[in-house]
Structures are given as structure tokens and as C-alpha cells.
């Protein structure tokens, strides 16, 4: 039996004006378990707390009920008071007789009556309270960043600068991501490579950062502060520690017709290649799908020309095990396939390109050395048509496009149109738009400059069809302002393809038990207040894996994610919330209902031995809650059909007792 002390606060006249505090404390003194009952002007004051501490000592109290303001106000205060007097802080319950009683009732009789019921309810609960201790777990002071684009790079640099070790896992042979493929960046038009490559070098040279390029995350176990991650390092058939990146092999390799993914297949590379000049790490990689030596053992040219002896045809995929305290997802995006949008003739004409392809064409390091020419015949185009929202804002066509706005297209299209007009004043540039969306600093000014100063023709309307005819592309579109259908004989058509999360994201989300929305974007812990955290503790989100983003937003979010990681890694131990779910293994029937509803992946199943009748041993599958991951929502407790799952601090019995006390 508990020895409960009840403390009724007057809160000056806030409570005392409509609640007869003396009557309340007298009434509650008669409740079962109550051995002491008192009232005081301000319980939260130093004197009030001293009064509680003294009573704890004097009456050997085991539980406390404070009838006062909302627990959202002073629950913490009174818990600390209790703890300082030597009883468990979770043996304190608050009866909210201010916000939920004295402030809303005018009649002292009504107020007093209700306050007594509320106090009785809290006492009923405390009678069933048990001391709770928050679990502690150590923190591995190292972070993993999945994805080496600008988001991953920025997050890694910020974490490393705070003095923590960071590993970047990048599936491609080099870090840099999409930004490395861009030409200029809006709205300032600085060159992407000029601002990105120094950061890539910083990453490479940072003593706290390791890069696992051409690698993938293969498995993740553990929980916040204690993740065990298996990284698969794919065989690149070149020894990274030896290769000097001289590039001789990439010039001598006889297999010349490999589509160059860095230029989106618009030119070719060799079977051994370095994606681009500023690649980090600057190490060659052999493409096993094309290499003659790896396919049929006939070649070996690269090995012969390599003075550093870095080529190793025998290299195998290797698995690396590493421990991390936090994981940042920065898996990025890709433009969607244009295959299903053949009304724009993407598969029928080489001169219909996506914006990312156009970006490569405009880039000095691209397939045309930055000269704007038609991919089909190398001629200079005079009329260019940009089509916005290709696959974005596309409802009712899930197999084709995406329902969301891809956010970045309006701005990069304005950039492309402006740069085209700037470099080639002899061109006619049309942009077909549904809406021009430019909410960003200096964004709308930029778009207006494209239209006003550079003479880009912005047409409100959509392109309906593109038809290659001879060496022209006949573009049929509507001009909604003029209420006309217009036909343009264009030389090039550029499609602003919708963007989607990288295909690798889903399998990573599964490994991390991080949740995703229907579009495969990672969901944040709170859409407004916790935008860079996943609901799963210890998992953080950086960049376009969470939603379409431009570079400034990505960098800002990357920094925010880093700050959250630093906050976590700075702790030596993590103190959990003790009000977590726990399963009574004797009652658990192993049905997995709880596991399915848990939003945090905190529940797992283990096979456990139990003593059966006649000295037999039974192995049963039972649920186990990881208290470090559980956030204490209680969804599992209701899902559990056998009543094995319960929530500490809000146990079924406690809530039942409260219900009974109210209904008495």
C-alpha cells in the first residue's frame, strides 16, 4: 500500500477563489492510501516545495498528488522536488484544478466538487504508480551519411567540423551528386563546379571524414546512439590506395562505346573511367559490364599501362562493419523517366531533351564543350521551346507522373532560358508554363529578368504535342491568355521533368525503419517543428530525399541535420523516456500486431525459452520493446490482443482506475 501525500495549491486566488481548498484537502485526506493532506498558497514556490519535502520525510510518503495547475506547467518542478526528497520522480501525479477547474467554473460549490473528483482520480492513479527509471545507453560518437551529393557533403563537413567522425557512403564512384552535373546555379548564376568542387576537396582532406565511394549500405541494426551498419564496398577492380588518378588507363582502354552516365548518355566513355576531372576520390573504376578482361579474360591493357600497379582484376565486393551513433539520409533525387510522355516525342527525336541533359549541353565540360548545338545534327538551334511541369502536378496518372510540384523547375528553366538568350541572342526562346512559382529570395526578380531583360517569351499554357517533321519539331500548344492554339517550328524542345526520390531510398528506409510517404519521400518527425529528423530516433534527413528542394534549401537543411546530429553525439549517454511500452512475455502470443502498428520500429521479436510443465522447455516467439527507440505513444498496447503489452506511466490498470474514480 502506498503512503500518499496530497498537496492542494491555492495559486494565490487563482484556485482558491472558486475552489474551497480547505474542503478539498479534507475530503481527499479520506481517500484510500492518503496519509497526509495539506494546502498552501503557492505550492510551486520554494516554501511550498520545502513543505512537500518535509512531509515526505515526516510521513514516509511513497507517492504524491499535487492539486494545482496543469502538469504541462509544473509536473517537472514537483518531480524534481520529490526526487530531491528521495522518492522516485514518477511517483508524482498532478490533478489539474486550475486550467481544468477553477478557471472555467464560477460557482464555488461546483468547482470544489469537481476538484475533489480530479484529486480522487489522481490518487487512484498514484496508488498504482511504480517507480520508473529512465534507461541509459552509451553513444557511439561517429555519424554515417548516406549519399555524397551536396546534402551529404554539407552535413558531413558540419559534423566533422564540430569534431566528430563522419563516414560518407556514396553508391557512385565519386561524390558530388546532381550538383556536379549542373552548369550554373540560380539565382546568382555562379558556376556549380566552382562552388561545389572546393567542398568536395574539403571532404576528401578532412581528417574526420572517410569516404566510402562505390559503396552501399547493406544492413542496419541497433538504435539511436548504437547503430551497427554493414557497408558493401563494391569491387571497382582498382586499388583506391594506389591509384593516382593519372587517367592514362582511361585513354588507352580499347572499349570506347560505353554510354557516359555523367553526361546522361549523350557521349561515351571507356570501360575504365573516372566520371569527371574533379572526381573525389580521383580513382579509376572498371565497369564490369563492359570490360573485356572481366568478361572473357582478353585484354589487360589498363593493367599494362598503369605505372602505379593499381589494377586488380581479382578484387571482390567487401563488407565493412562499423558502429555509428547517428545516421543521416541524403539519398537525393532523380528526374523521372520521360518514356511515358511521348506526346513530347522524347523517344522519337534526339532534339527533345530533359533539362538535366540541357544542363550538360550548356556545361563547358559537357558533351558539346558548352556549345549549344542540336544533339541530332550538331547544328545551332534558333528556336527553343521549354515545357514546364512534365510529369509534375500530374494527378490521376500515377503510372506516368507525380502529383506534387517539383519545385525547382520554374527556376532552372528561367535560368536555361536566360543563359540561352544571353549567349545566343539570335535565338527565340519560349517557355510554356501553368504557373510560374518563384517563392525564394531574389527568385521572382530573376524570373522577371529572364522575361523583361532577356526577351524570353513566357506563354501561359501547355504544350499538347510535339511532332518531329523533317529537321524541325512541330510544337502545338495553347496560349491561354490570347485564347489561341499556337504552332511553333522549333529546333529543340526541353522538358522540365518531374523529380522523384532516388530508387535506393525505399530499401534504405526499410533498413532504417524510417517512414516514407506514398511518393517515397522520407517523412519528417514533425512537418513544421522537426523537419530534419525522421520519426525514428537517431535518423536524420538531409536534402531532396525529404522533398523537392533547391540548393540553398538543401544546404540549409543539411546544416540543420548536422546540428541535430552534433547535439546527439555531444552526449555521452542517452537518457530515455521511462514511459515506454513493455511486453509481458508470459502473456505474449507472438502475433506481431504490435510490431505492425509501431511507428518507430521499436518492437522486435525473439525466440525465448520458457519453463513448461514437467521440467520441459518451451521456445516461444515473444515481443521485445527497445526502450531507447520507443517514444511511448501506446499504439501497441491497444493493438495487443492478449493484453501483454502495457505502457509504463500510463498502464491499463492506472487508466482504468482513473475511469472508475471519475465514474464513482
Amino acid at each position: 500500500m502506498q503512503r500518499i501525500g496530497v498537496f492542494v495549491c491555492w495559486c494565490g486566488s487563482n484556485i482558491a477563489a472558486t475552489v474551497d481548498v480547505e474542503a478539498v484537502s479534507q475530503a481527499l485526506a479520506k481517500e484510500p492510501g492518503v496519509v497526509h493532506s495539506a494546502n498552501y498558497q503557492y505550492m510551486c514556490s520554494q516554501a511550498g516545495q520545502d513543505l512537500i519535502r518535509a512531509a515526505i520525510k515526516e510521513h514516509k510518503l511513497t507517492g504524491i498528488v499535487v492539486c494545482s495547475c496543469s502538469p504541462r506547467m509544473h509536473e517537472m518542478t514537483f518531480r524534481k522536488t520529490a526526487e530531491s526528497a528521495g522518492i522516485n520522480p514518477y511517483m508524482v501525479e498532478i490533478a489539474n484544478i486550475r486550467e481544468q477547474c477553477s478557471w472555467i467554473h464560477k460557482d464555488i460549490l461546483t468547482g470544489t466538487e469537481k476538484a475533489i473528483v480530479l484529486g480522487r482520480t489522481a490518487i487512484a492513479k498514484v496508488n498504482l504508480n511504480a517507480p520508473l527509471t529512465a534507461g541509459e545507453s552509451p553513444v557511439t560518437k561517429r555519424a554515417l551519411v548516406i549519399g555524397g551529393g551536396i546534402a551529404g557533403i554539407q552535413t558531413a563537413l558540419d559534423i566533422a567540423d564540430a569534431g566528430f567522425e563522419v563516414d560518407i557512403v556514396e553508391k557512385n564512384p565519386t561524390i558530388g551528386g546532381k550538383m556536379a552535373q549542373l552548369d550554373k546555379t540560380f539565382p546568382t548564376l555562379d558556376c556549380a563546379a566552382c562552388i561545389l568542387t572546393p567542398k568536395m576537396v574539403d571532404v576528401a582532406q578532412h581528417e574526420k571524414i572517410r569516404i566510402f565511394s562505390y559503396s552501399e549500405v547493406a544492413a542496419v541494426k541497433g538504435f539511436v546512439g548504437n547503430f551497427d551498419v554493414t557497408i558493401k564496398k563494391k569491387a571497382r577492380y582498382v586499388r583506391e590506395d594506389v591509384c593516382t588518378g593519372c587517367g592514362l588507363c582511361t585513354e588507352k582502354c580499347p572499349v570506347k562505346k560505353v554510354p557516359n552516365e555523367f553526361n546522361l548518355g549523350m557521349d561515351t566513355r571507356r570501360a575504365i573511367y573516372i566520371p569527371f576531372a574533379q572526381a573525389v576520390p580521383k580513382v579509376a573504376t572498371i565497369d564490369a559490364d563492359y570490360c573485356n578482361m572481366l568478361k572473357n579474360g582478353k585484354c589487360g591493357v589498363c593493367s599494362k599501362v598503369c605505372t602505379a600497379k593499381a589494377i586488380d582484376y581479382e578484387q571482390k565486393d567487401t563488407l565493412i562493419e562499423e558502429k555509428y551513433g547517428a545516421i543521416v539520409v541524403a539519398t537525393g533525387f532523380n528526374p523521372i523517366s520521360m518514356e511515358k510522355f511521348d506526346e513530347y516525342a522524347y523517344s522519337q527525336s534526339k532534339d527533345v531533351v530533359t533539362s538535366l541533359e540541357f544542363e550538360r549541353i550548356m556545361n563547358a565540360a559537357g558533351p558539346t564543350q558548352g556549345k549549344l548545338v542540336r544533339p541530332s545534327d550538331g547544328k545551332h538551334p534558333h528556336t527553343l521551346v521549354f515545357v514546364q511541369c512534365v510529369g509534375s502536378r500530374c494527378a490521376n496518372c500515377a503510372e506516368k507522373g507525380k502529383e506534387y510540384c517539383s519545385k525547382i523547375c520554374c527556376m532552372y528553366t528561367a535560368k536555361h532560358a536566360m543563359l540561352t538568350r544571353d549567349k545566343y541572342p539570335d535565338t527565340d526562346v519560349y517557355v510554356f508554363y501553368i504557373d510560374v512559382r518563384t517563392p525564394g529570395k531574389n527568385f521572382d526578380e530573376f524570373y522577371r529578368r529572364a522575361a523583361e531583360e532577356y526577351g524570353v517569351h513566357y506563354v501561359k499554357g501547355m504544350v499538347g504535342k510535339v511532332m518531329p517533321e523533317g529537321d524541325k519539331l512541330m510544337v502545338r500548344a495553347s496560349d491561354l491568355i490570347a485564347n489561341k492554339q499556337i504552332n511553333i517550328a522549333a529546333d529543340m524542345v526541353i522538358l522540365a521533368a518531374a523529380i522523384e526520390p532516388d530508387k535506393s531510398a525505399r530499401s534504405i528506409a526499410t533498413m532504417l525503419t524510417a517512414s516514407m510517404d506514398t511518393n517515397d519521400f522520407f517523412t519528417e518527425a514533425h512537418p513544421k517543428l522537426r523537419p530534419v529528423e525522421s520519426p525514428t530516433a537517431g535518423i536524420f534527413l538531409s536534402g531532396a530525399c525529404q522533398g523537392p528542394k533547391d540548393i540553398p534549401e538543401t544546404v540549409a537543411q543539411a546544416g540543420a541535420a548536422a546540428a541535430k546530429v552534433i547535439g546527439l553525439l555531444a552526449k555521452d549517454k542517452l537518457k530515455g523516456n521511462p514511459c515506454v511500452a513493455s511486453s509481458n512475455e508470459l502473456m505474449c502470443n507472438g502475433c506481431s500486431s504490435c510490431e505492425r502498428v509501431c511507428p518507430y520500429g521499436a518492437i522486435s521479436y525473439v525466440d525465448k525459452e520458457f519453463r513448461g510443465p514437467n521440467r520441459t522447455v518451451l521456445v516461444r516467439r515473444v515481443a521485445q520493446v527497445n526502450p531507447a527507440v520507443c517514444q511511448g505513444c501506446g499504439a501497441c498496447t491497444v493493438a495487443c490482443p492478449s493484453g501483454a503489452m502495457d505502457l509504463k506511466g500510463f498502464a491499463t490498470k492506472q487508466i482504468m482506475a482513473e475511469v472508475d474514480a471519475i465514474c464513482k
Binding site: C389, R393, N396, G464, S478, L480, N483, Q485
Partner: protein, 130 residues
């Protein structure tokens, strides 16, 4: 009169099964319509005018006989609005009135030539008469 037109709007929406408020005004239907130049009111206007209840001009316009029912607008609409179904519903609203058939049997002979396929005649009748 106003009440009747309001009925016409509801009738057209019910019959076509189209929800015009799904339209995001991108104009792709009109950008793709092969009959655009022959129409006084264009596919996007049909959707908009039905949405706002401005039905009368549509009922009086020859545009309802110019739609080819090629369904390009239906297929390419990013929001699944199906403008061609609206056009057809407006046409039915007209030709179902007493004596409002667009094609009269007496006029058929003059339109015939040696090669014209039966398909043309039956389809035209199905589209233009009740």
C-alpha cells in the same frame, strides 16, 4: 431561365461524370486539340464555362459539332478531367431537345459519295442526332 440553365449545368456534370473543379487551368487540352481552329469555344473553355455555369453560349455554339471525339484531351489531361466528355454532354443537352437534331435524314443524300464508308454515316448520326 436561370434555373433551367442551372439544371443544365448539373445535368451536364452528372451525365458526363466529369468534375470540372479538378481542372488546374493548364490548357493542355486546348494545346493538343486537333479541332481547335474550327471551334468557337475550346476544350478548356468548355470545362471552365461548365464549372462557372456559363452554359448558354455553349448550347448555342457550333463548337459542339466540331469536336472529333478523338479523346486526345482525355488522354493527355494531367488532372484526369476528360474535357471531351463534357463536350459530348453539352451536345446531348442540345440534340435531345425536340426537333434539335443537327443532321436531318433529308440531307443525307447530298453528302454521300461513292466511297464513303457506312461507318461515317452511322457515326455521324450517332453523334449528331438523338
Amino acid at each position: 431561365m436561370e434555373k433551367n440553365l442551372n439544371n443544365a449545368r448539373e445535368e451536364i456534370i452528372r451525365r458526363s461524370g466529369v468534375n470540372p473543379s479538378k481542372c488546374m487551368k493548364c490548357g493542355k487540352c486546348s494545346g493538343t486539340c486537333p479541332a481547335y481552329d474550327e471551334m468557337e469555344y475550346h476544350p478548356h473553355q468548355f470545362v471552365y464555362m461548365v464549372e462557372t455555369g456559363d452554359i448558354e453560349p455553349l448550347l448555342k455554339s457550333q463548337s459542339i459539332y466540331r469536336c472529333l471525339s478523338c479523346f486526345a484531351c482525355v488522354d493527355r489531361c494531367p488532372r484526369g478531367v476528360e474535357p471531351a466528355k463534357i463536350v459530348e454532354a453539352v451536345r446531348l443537352e442540345v440534340i435531345r431537345q425536340q426537333g434539335a437534331n443537327h443532321l436531318k435524314a433529308e440531307g443525307v443524300a447530298e453528302n454521300l459519295d461513292e466511297e464513303i464508308p457506312q461507318q461515317a454515316i452511322v457515326t455521324a448520326f450517332r453523334k449528331y442526332t438523338k
